[in-house]
């Protein structure tokens, strides 16, 4: 095994070794049991007292939703105003201007919904103020929103609950104080000691060895990069994201950032098992997700390590693999692992440029975002998976002629309607967006926008089509990575992806919350011989089949026109 592949295996095993105890810890926090961070309780009490919140008041699922949507609306308005006004706000040493209305609309939504699609470059399109007070703040709270929503669903899955599902503010604040903030602090310290900048000094200038004058963008990067990964956000400080040498200086920081982004999504799967005391069920979910991850990872690593066949024909040596858009200090194997992890989990940070990846890799990244629940983003990954569980329970119930029950509650028409709508929403918003943009490229090529549709695509043919498919898939999956060659800094992309992002965020939170709330209110039926077992590998296979059919096959025609066609044309 060469050192590049052993690095990938080590990174995954390290993640797992940390995620299991973290899962147990998260379950303890939300069960209200003792943990070693209990000394933070006074801080939480202060926050609640300051905000006038009674954190002990039980809420039903609708009240949870109202609280979640209200505070998210506050953040949206706050972010939009700050981004427009950033040129006049403090902490702007590089004197960058405010964002245009459509860019600010897109950016505010993007960070609110944990997507972090960036239609600007951090070096010139944001200030230290907006990086910290808008982006980093939203990194924390958007991740906490997803996790809090998931905890509501966990609670609703318990045996003996009705409509008392705990307090949203309690879940939300504890996610910040007990999980995100302490771990971010540790990560940021590791990053800082590996050379990532932390000071508020602005651009520097020096004269290079050859005598060129060079300006260097810097900034207080480490604090943001820690939560950017831990919260599966992905919005980077610099334009090149974690491919940038300051945002990801070496193999230690690269491993840290990879572990950080995978940590909570995996931990939450185990937290589910510990919280509900159904460990076998958690293992089934973990098994399905891990097999899914490997199915995407192996072809991607294979394609990247083999290199670009078109460049092989020119006779140069691709011993390490395909290098376009990649950094030497990470290498193609690790870049392949990162691009799969960042797309199955909704991080969307990159350490190599996805646009330049092999077509097979691009195909797997797209599939990762189309499925969007193999581990998935902070909280929302399991919420997406929950929808597929409901559908799988219903279908298997019909197949074997048993009443579809899930954890002692009957799944009926109403729950199935919600689950189907949410499952179909994802392909719908992606493919409709793609259809509109394709139409515009062909029929409105000269439209007078900041970037004319005729110059949107950085690459001709199938790859250009993939660039548009990727943009909408990334928006709908709240991923945020891009085939960055796409000329997306104009009103068309800002508005359409903004709408796709907001639909792709809140409906998949509302749906599972509603289903879980409705189920919790139903009569509890104790398990009997007629109950469909949900903690078996047979059921795991069933979930997997549902995911493949709904999430992957509905995109097959679009994938065939994009990366698959490019794969077969590349010789």
């Amino acid at each position: 095994m060469n050192t590049e592949i052993s690095g990938v295996v080590f990174t995954y095993l390290l993640t797992l070794a940390l995620a299991i105890p973290l899962g147990r810890y998260i379950a303890r926090v939300f069960k209200g049991e003792k943990t070693w961070l209990d000394f933070l309780a006074p801080l939480e009490r202060f926050i609640f007292r300051f905000s006038g919140i009674d954190a002990k008041k039980e809420m039903n699922w609708k009240q949870h939703l109202f609280a979640l949507l209200t505070i998210n609306s506050v953040w949206l308005i706050y972010a939009f105003v700050c981004l427009m006004a950033q040129g006049h706000l403090p902490l702007n040493p590089d004197a960058n201007p405010g964002q245009s209305a459509d860019t600010a609309f897109n950016t505010a939504i993007s960070f609110l919904v944990n997507c972090n699609l960036q239609h600007y470059s951090g070096e010139s399109g944001a200030t230290y103020f907006t990086q910290h007070f808008v982006f980093m703040f939203l990194h924390f709270v958007s991740a906490a929103t997803g996790i809090a929503a998931l905890i509501v669903v966990f609670r609703a899955m318990k045996d003996k609950v009705t409509d008392k599902l705990g307090n949203f503010w309690d879940y939300f604040v504890k996610t910040v104080t007990r999980v995100l903030l302490p771990i971010s602090f540790v990560i940021a310290v590791i990053l800082a000691f590996n050379g990532m900048t932390t000071s508020y000094a602005g651009k520097d200038t020096f004269i290079s060895m050859q005598g060129d004058t060079v300006h260097v963008s810097r900034g207080p990067v480490a604090a943001l990069v820690a939560i950017k990964h831990l919260g599966t956000n992905g919005g980077g400080w610099f334009g090149a994201n974690s491919a940038h040498p300051i945002e990801n200086p070496n193999y230690v920081t690269n491993t840290t950032e990879l572990v950080a982004q995978t940590l909570i999504p995996i931990a939450l799967v185990f937290a589910l098992g510990f919280y509900l005391n159904k460990k076998k069920f958690a293992y089934v979910i973990f098994g399905v997700m891990t097999i899914g991850m490997l199915l995407f990872l192996i072809p991607t690593m294979n394609a990247e390590l083999n290199g670009n066949p078109a460049i092989a024909k020119m006779g140069v040596s691709q011993t390490t693999g395909a290098m376009e858009g990649k950094e030497v200090r990470f290498g193609p194997a690790n870049s392949a692992y990162w691009s799969v992890i960042t797309t199955i989990i909704s991080t969307g940070s990159v350490n190599s440029m996805h646009d330049s990846a092999m077509p097979m890799s691009g195909n797997m990244m797209l599939l990762g975002m189309m499925v969007n629940c193999f581990y998935g983003g902070c909280g929302v990954g399991i919420l997406n998976f929950y929808i597929f569980i409901i559908i799988a329970v219903f279908i298997s119930g019909l197949m074997v002629g048993r009443t579809p029950e899930f954890f002692g509650r009957k799944i009926e028409a109403r729950e199935m309607k919600i689950a189907s709508l949410i499952a179909l929403l994802h392909p719908f918003i992606i493919l409709v967006g793609l259809a509109i943009s394709s139409y515009v490229v062909v029929n409105m090529a000269g439209a007078d926008w900041a970037v004319k549709p005729s110059s949107w695509l950085n690459n001709p043919g199938n790859h250009g089509f993939s660039e548009m498919l990727y943009e909408y898939t990334s928006s709908a999956a709240n991923n945020g990575s891009g085939f960055e060659g796409l000329g997306d800094g104009n009103i068309f992309w800002n508005v359409t992806t903004g709408i796709v992002m907001i639909l792709g965020r809140f409906l998949p939170i509302i749906g599972p919350l509603a289903i879980a709330g409705l189920l919790a209110n139903k009569k509890y039926i104790p398990e009997s011989a007629g109950t469909l077992k949900s903690d078996t590998s047979t059921f795991g296979v069933m979930i997997f089949a549902v995911i493949i059919i709904i999430a992957a096959l509905s995109f097959f025609p679009a994938l065939a026109l994009g990366p698959i066609a490019e794969h077969f044309s590349l010789k």
Partner: protein, 188 residues
């Protein structure tokens, strides 16, 4: 809605203070204790700062080791890759041109000796590193341009080849700026 609006506003305010104010200031404090004092580590030659240890810079003269092609021309006030797809015909022409250019400056080198990273653009446009093979293939050119022996330079490259992490994980690499500073210091 009103039941939730006031708590939302207040909670937002207090969390902004903690998460965007106190937390990064604490990290900035820790950063002061690091080798680069949180400003980024710089490298000097003859008492003058000639670059950042982490960021690549442009080397085009024959007497220096070259780094990778950069889509942003090593302008560190920005960053980015070429975003060219692997099948793009214009991109493939660019790569072919870079190969021919490299062969012209490095007579005696064959195509099969050129590692791909020397003719493909990096992700950030600021990649500070090349592979050991990428440095060795330039030894003959640099030695000739500087009137040094190839053996001496091969040794220098070997000294500057950084092994994988703990010898086990990740690629090995050569930091081009550090190598070129050491190269200048050889002459003394």
């Amino acid at each position: 809605m009103k039941t939730y609006l006031l708590p939302s506003l207040k909670l937002t305010l207090i969390l902004i203070v903690i998460l965007a104010g106190i937390y990064p200031l604490a990290i900035a404090g820790v950063g002061k204790l690091t080798p680069g004092h949180g400003d980024g580590e710089t490298l000097s030659y003859k008492g003058r700062v000639v670059g950042y240890a982490l960021e690549g810079q442009k080397f085009t003269k024959d007497e220096y080791f070259w780094g990778r092609p950069s889509a942003v021309d090593y302008n560190a006030a920005g960053s980015g890759g070429s975003n060219k797809g692997p099948s793009n015909p214009d991109y493939l022409k660019d790569v072919e041109k870079r190969i021919e250019d490299f062969l012209k400056h490095n007579p005696g080198v064959t195509r099969a000796q050129i590692p791909a990273e020397l003719v493909t653009a990096s992700g950030s446009g600021l990649d500070p590193d090349i592979s050991a093979a990428g440095a060795q293939v330039q030894v003959a050119r640099v030695a000739k341009a500087r009137g040094l022996s190839a053996d001496q330079l091969t040794k220098l490259v070997n000294e500057h080849t950084e092994k994988p992490l703990l010898g086990l994980f990740g690629p090995s690499k050569v930091n081009v700026l550090k190598l070129n500073i050491a190269l200048e210091e050889l002459k003394k």
